[in-house]
């Protein structure tokens, strides 16, 4: 079945440093979604990418979808303490109905 792998599992940064998490799928995806889950909270939708090579920005966050639609990345510029949380990617196979979540990257930011 479809597998979505996410690295790194944990990332500790100093406030102001950049952060990147990577997501790789074993199969071609029709779309990929990114979610943020604060400690003790629930996942909150950030963005969806659909097109091959797509790049979207939300303030300090940059999301990319690979040309082959099998990988994606989330980059945060100049992290802040409010960025703390676990970032999940979730991909849907082209032929499937299920959204498969990656294992998430837990980000901690030291002030």
């Amino acid at each position: 079945g479809q597998q979505v792998m996410q690295i790194p599992q944990y990332q500790h940064v100093q406030e102001g440093e950049d952060f990147t998490t990577y997501c790789n799928s074993s199969t071609t995806l029709s779309n990929i979604q990114w979610y943020k889950q604060r400690p003790g909270g629930h996942p909150v939708f950030l963005i969806q990418l659909v097109k091959s090579g797509e790049v979207k920005k939300q303030k300090r966050l940059t999301f990319q979808f690979g040309e082959a639609k099998k990988n994606s990345s989330l980059h945060i510029t100049a992290t802040q303490t409010t960025d703390v949380g676990t970032y999940f990617c979730a991909g849907k196979e082209t032929s499937g109905s299920r959204l498969t979540f990656g294992e998430g990257t837990q980000l901690t930011v030291n002030p």
Binding site: Q33, G41, H42, P43, Q48, S97, R98, L99, G104
Partner: protein
Amino acid sequence: DAMVIQNPRYQVTQFGKPVTLSCSQTLNHNVMYWYQQKSSQAPKLLFHYYDKDFNNEADTPDNFQSRRPNTSFCFLDIRSPGLGDAAMYLCATSNTGRRLPYNSPLHFGNGTRLTVT
């Protein structure tokens, strides 16, 4: 504000004692999902309703059942909870069309944290 509401926020049940978790939504979304999330893990899909159509995941234990009496409400029944069923249970909704099913973002509730004693 339109939202997904889960009750209760915390639920304690005894080993083997049936428990029901509830979810309601004011978004009028046609798809409702139940996810199980254990500590430091990704949400795991248990099942979902596409309108009234129930879709079970192949690896969801028979111990877990669900009901969706109407568009707004969905229930998760755990018939005989075991210690391994202690987790956060997340309800989510999405609004998806027949032409592009399951391509829409998920809206999660706050979750119910289940403890089994």
